[in-house]
């Protein structure tokens, strides 16, 4: 929980430091996304108020850039690189493997909120193609077989993390 508080301060801090100029809009949205994992409507209203940019324009910017999301994401965000090198080395096979194993397709989150599948244009690790990124970790030279075992491992990890988080809260209470 302490963690969530410090992150929330990050967005609050950005708001505090903002000079209310239009060029602050994107950095503020980035700070909000970092804090909440997505850009909630309430955040857009607050930013609109601080910067005096109409709500419609804020919404226009949020939907223009691929970085911003309007819905919450899962604990683990899997980004399949769809750069040219990854494409010619079979990234579509990776995507369908993830669909098979986790049951989610592009831009979807599973019902438990564990995984979100996204596609990214290029993560710049082309010589290790095909590549996926899980949160900030990059995995290269994947085959459907290697990926299947990786996904199974990740599922265990994310479930363990949840379990630990819930017991920690109980202890602190």
């Amino acid at each position: 929980m302490a963690n969530a508080k410090t992150i929330m301060n990050g967005f609050a801090q950005a708001l505090w430091l903002s000079q209310g100029v239009a060029s602050d809009l994107i950095p503020l949205l980035q700070a909000a996304q970092e804090a909440y994992g997505y850009v909630p409507e309430r955040v857009m209203e607050v930013i609109s108020g601080v910067t005096e940019i109409p709500m419609a324009d804020v919404y226009g910017v949020v939907t223009f850039y691929t970085q911003f999301r309007l819905t919450p994401r899962g604990d683990m965000v899997i980004k399949v690189c769809n750069g040219t090198a990854c494409h010619v080395n079979g990234s579509t096979m990776l995507e369908s493997t993830i669909e098979d194993v986790l049951g989610i397709s592009r831009d979807q989150t599973d019902d438990d909120g564990l995984f979100t599948l996204e596609s990214v244009n290029c993560v710049g690790c082309c010589s290790l193609a095909p590549v996926i990124m899980v949160n900030d970790e990059t995995y290269g030279s994947l085959t459907p077989r290697k990926l299947t075992s990786l996904l199974k491992r990740l599922r265990r990890e994310v479930l363990d993390a949840r379990l630990n988080a819930s017991t920690e809260v109980e202890v602190s209470e």
């Binding site: 994107i26 850039y65 040219t84 290029c122 710049g124 690790c125």
Partner: protein, 586 residues
Amino acid sequence: MKRIIVGTATCGIAAGAGKVLNALNDWAGEAGEGEVTVLETGCIGLCYAEPLVELQDGTDCRLYGGVTPAMALALAKGEEHPDLLPNQLWSKVESGHATIFGDAPRIALGRCGFVDPGSLADYLDTGGFQAQRRMLDEMEPQQVIDEVVASGLRGRGGGGFPTGTKWKFAAAQDNDVKYVICNADEGDPGAFMDRSLLEGDPFSVLEGMVICGYAIGAAKGIIYCRAEYPRALMRLRDAIEQARAANFLGQNVCGSNFSFDIRVKEGAGAFVCGEETALMASVEGQRGMPRFRPPFPAVKGLFGKPTNINNVETFANVGWFLGSGAPMYAEVGTDGSKGTKVFALAGKIQRGGLVEVPMGTTINQLVLDIGGGVPEGHTFKAVQMGGPSGGCIPASMGDLAIDYENIVKTGAIMGSGGVIIMDDTTCMVDVARYFLSFTQAESCGKCTFCRIGTKRMLEILESITAGEGKDDDIDKLLDLCEKIKVSTLCGLGQTAPNPVLTTIKYFRSEYEAHIRDKKCPAHSCNALVLYSILPDKCTGCALCTKNCAVGAISGERKGLHVIDQQACIQCGKCITVCNFNAIIKE
């Protein structure tokens, strides 16, 4: 004392360099204290062999690839390890004085992979900020511009506009406030030159920007960098802080009466923001949409002020020749294109990575000699240069010398330097479809032909790769290409047809095979291939039967299995699960 250097750019980290570095640091902190120094460096360029570790012991220098923590520890302790010798990539003793890159001059990447990118001291030791000091002590802004013009440097972002001319325009503007922007929004899929440069030698980019600021009379610099490059952003922010603390940036740079400061702006993920007017709109907090030029940014740019925008690699070149002299720079390269160019080799290639070659190097030298050619058993078919704005150049034109003009003549563009190598398993229609799906998704939607024209082209290409192509599809595509080229505002739209135009120009027969014969010569388009099981390789393990979603595979356990072609939906799942390579596409 022994020095052990680990390459920790993004490629290295992805391949496991972090574990190697941790293992070394743990050991060096305890048992090995005082015996070895563990250092980090940026991209060495041999990305195919990551993680890379270099051992320096007096005059003995050795570079190892594919290093595991155990191998690295053995190196540090001076012990034997069976995997070390087979993975030795280079040794100074055996190669004499030549570096691993041979005798080719390295200008932009001169320090990449040799110095610690987080260390200002390393940068200064290797001649860093000398050009800046010399400039502030001895040169007038006009002299700087003259020298840039004399070097013949052209914009490395892809367009190839002469850098000196661009600076001249911005310098000629009479305005109190001017901006210098470094375009690090490397959006081309398949390109990682800027990332490697920023991660491997961030100070050189800062120095280039200070020089530009002095030349055009600007006091503010902005680096617009992709948010997808967390490590490059970290290195940049760290470098700016160090440079500021040492007065290479900020008020009264190096004690002169010139002030210049730089801040970093994170991009939010829009390919079109690589276009300069769209980039400026994005910095201002708007949707990144390009606008009509003129007025050019040099006249009316960011916040309406004169602005000079250059690419990362362009700035990295500037400090080199302002220190070493423009004539030396102009000696490298061809008549029209001076200096060197950094290329990122990727795709179907044995030794993918980052290379810097003089302009005028041929495609074959780049792909076959430096990159080691395509994987064994396959044939080299084409290179793709310039990303979604570029095109495919067939292997038959491999003797073409790479410079701006020659590449444009083929229908591709130099681009920022991403080179994707393709072999006989790559379908050229699918490549065109891939790039169109990219530009179509990234179109900002301002111009009708870019917004709707690319969509129609994509639909046609999708139907061709799905085996539903019609006879007049090629003509329709060519017609749309022509119209999109002439009726769009920015580079994204104007160049979007290039991948289609070049593949039709050089690989028309592949399009015809898809449309008329319903065959994909590269066996890559799933809808157009037949899957079958080789009787002599099938062991009857029934793994494919279990995994087939439509129950199209049948056979006795331990007996031969067969695929029912009527029921098969060509998903390709069986190939990926078969342990014996018994399933083939034809």
